[in-house]
């Protein structure tokens, strides 16, 4: 088995174990509608996780992910619904801002954590300006897309597989993806190879913003309306998803398929604990325990890998 495959083994095992646990406790979940109810809210989380993964691939961290997805959700529920052209323009501008952030972080050599933390307040502020009170409504086509009932498997499964494949093709197979990962791994090498580091970083940020925009839109499609705080949890969820899926804080080592699986695992962990009827006071702790368990397993695998 290649090391990459081996890295994917732990998240897959965690997902299968949790899924088995959920089915065992709640047999009703093992059905078409059951799976959809269980996993449909994982779709926006998976998209946000891919976005975070792209940022982490260039050795940065985005602490504004939740705020940005909330902002996108607010734009989607208002402008994109009422005046689609203006809505698309705003979303495109937001992606451009992200690319600009990548440039600034690179040129000024700023820590990405500080810049994105600052930006999180900007995004939240804009979201509150757009939608001072919760409301708005999802564009009809988006709602239809997110509640579509395809044959064989529910939307949540199709969407997750599609996201994983597209992200895999972009990050692992395309030239840009290779450059992005190389940038996170060894900046100097990329510079010497004659590629513009600034352009690569900007592209990584723009691509991340694009996935985050999709996350916000998917969320509105599911929730039917928005709220300026709707996705604040996504910052930590997306980071946890990347790590769970085999990514690392040290740039360059990421796995798009793993990230999607990580997002699904986190969502399932929540349902699993709720079915177990664990008191809410302990739920965050229990979620943390699942994370630690998976990471410990991975460490063990890494050791085995190194010994061989």
């Amino acid at each position: 088995m290649t090391p990459d495959r081996l890295r994917l083994l732990v998240p897959v095992m965690a997902l299968v174990a949790l899924l088995a646990g959920v089915f065992w406790m709640q047999p009703r979940a093992a059905s078409y509608t059951g799976l959809n109810l269980l996993l449909n809210l994982a779709v926006p989380i998976a998209l946000a996780t891919i976005a975070q993964m792209l940022i982490m691939a260039v050795n940065d961290l985005d602490l504004s992910m939740g705020a940005f997805v909330s902002f996108v959700a607010c734009v989607t529920a208002t402008f994109l619904n009422d005046t689609p052209a203006l809505g698309l323009l705003i979303l495109a501008a937001a992606i451009a801002v992200y690319a600009g952030l990548g440039v600034i972080i690179h040129l000024r050599n700023l820590p990405s954590i500080v810049v994105t933390l600052g930006m999180s307040f900007v995004w939240t502020g804009l979201a509150v300006l757009i939608l001072p009170a919760p409301g708005g409504s999802s564009p009809e086509w988006l709602r239809t897309l997110m509640t579509v009932k395809p044959p064989l498997a529910p939307m949540a499964i199709f969407a997750s597989v599609l996201i994983a494949i597209v992200a895999h093709l972009i990050v692992m197979r395309s030239t840009l993806g290779v450059r992005i990962r190389a940038l996170g791994g060894n900046e100097r090498t990329v510079a010497r190879s004659g590629t513009s580091i600034i352009a690569t970083r900007a592209a990584a940020y723009a691509l991340a913003a694009f996935f985050a925009v999709l996350a916000g839109m998917a969320l509105v499609g599911l929730a039917t309306s928005a709220d300026a705080n709707i996705a604040l949890r996504y910052t930590l969820l997306s980071i946890a998803g990347v790590i769970l899926g085999g990514g690392e804080f040290i740039g360059g080592r990421v796995s798009p398929i793993g990230a999607v699986i990580g997002a699904l695992t986190l969502t399932l962990a929540g349902s699993f604990l709720s079915f177990l009827r664990i008191s809410p006071d302990w739920q965050i702790g229990a979620q943390g325990a699942i994370l630690i368990l998976v990471l410990a397993l991975r460490l063990l695998f890494n050791r085995l890998e190194a010994r061989r």
């Binding site: 809210l41 969320l219 929730a223 039917t224 604040l232 969502t267 349902s271 709720s274 739920q283």
Partner: protein
């Protein structure tokens, strides 16, 4: 023989059926978004007490309470979808957001589940709403003041947390009341954030710039702080409308015993969760229930002060638990 007994008892059950035999196999879940303050704690305790009794009596089969760990709409949406999977017949929800749960609530309705929202209500049309008329609550303060001091005077308004719709609604009610009674004027307005310490600081800050204040209109959780600020400034204590908090009632009682101080206190009882429970039970029972219901206020007056203070726990809020009859009354009133 056995059959006749069975039939006889079945006939008896039909005769004796007061309406709740129909819901004895139904399961109701409470989806709560937050448990971090005394009001929510009292709300959960009331739920446990009343629904526990209902389960023991066989009115419903189960009434489980779930609280999300992080007060986030996306988390609560997932929680509601889990409840659908768990096969509950009705979901009573105190929502983190009036709109962001709509998708999950629609899923529940489509699965044939009754959804009743209260306190934090949702605007998905398929759900029932047990709502608080906050504007009427604000206006009721002026109605009291009108009779307590017919000559009118200058008012100090203490508002809640800026940007929350409850604050806007109560304040709108107060201002509507002032408009109707022109001999009252609002001399100043501060934000007390529904907390005694914040209110005290805010009132102390604005007091030197104010004329003599006849009364303080409040939003609850701020009356005691206002009283402290007036005392510290050495100014005469005006009528301060209270908000059913234990420290407010205790201070009122002390003043009443010392100098015959009079005021009134109004707020929403945390036990409103039990009202929502009975409403859900009535709907499951097949009763025709309007989608929008209004929660009665819990008002405390001079003569009911002692009784309420006695039953309010230290640091808590005056509470009342609702019965099935109360729910039927509220439903009838809305028709």
């Amino acid at each position: 023989m056995t059959r006749t007994i069975l039939m006889a008892s079945a006939a008896l059950a039909c005769l004796a059926g007061t309406g709740f035999a129909d819901t004895s196999d139904k399961r109701i879940a409470l989806s709560n978004n937050y448990a971090g303050n005394s009001w929510r704690q009292a709300m959960l305790e009331s739920w446990a007490k009343v629904t526990g009794q209902a389960v023991t009596d066989g009115v419903v089969a189960a009434a489980d309470a779930f609280t999300t760990a992080e007060n986030q709409a996306t988390e609560q949406a997932a929680q509601i979808q889990n409840m659908i999977l768990q096969g509950y017949d009705a979901i009573v929800v105190n929502a983190a957001s009036p709109t962001a749960l709509n998708g999950a609530i629609k899923e529940a309705c489509d699965a044939g589940i009754i959804v009743v929202s209260f306190d934090g209500i949702v605007d998905e049309p398929c759900a029932w709403r047990v709502a608080v008329d906050f504007e009427a609550m604000g206006k009721s303060q002026l109605d009291y003041l009108k009779t307590a001091m017919p000559d009118g005077g200058a008012l100090l308004e203490i508002r809640g947390l800026a940007g929350v719709f409850v604050d806007d609604a109560i304040s709108a009610g107060i201002h509507a009341g002032v408009e109707e009674n022109p001999n009252f004027t609002i001399a100043g307005s501060v934000h007390g954030d529904w907390a005694q310490d914040v209110a005290q600081k805010a009132v102390a800050g604005i007091l030197p710039s104010l004329p003599e204040i006849a009364a303080v209109v409040t939003q609850g959780g701020d009356g005691y702080g206002a009283a402290q600020a007036f005392a510290a400034a050495g100014r005469p204590t005006p009528i301060i409308i209270m908000g059913n908090r234990q420290d407010e009632l205790k201070w009122w009682k002390e003043q009443k015993d010392a100098n015959g101080y009079t005021t009134m206190s109004v707020s929403i009882a945390p036990g409103v969760s039990t009202l929502a429970f009975w409403v859900a039970q009535q709907i499951l029972d097949g009763k025709d229930v309007p989608k929008d219901l209004t929660v009665p206020f819990l008002r405390i007056d001079q003569d009911t002060l002692e009784a309420n203070l006695e039953t309010t726990p230290e640091g808590g809020v005056a509470n009342v638990e609702y019965s099935q009859e109360d729910a039927i009354q509220v439903i009838e009133a809305a028709k």
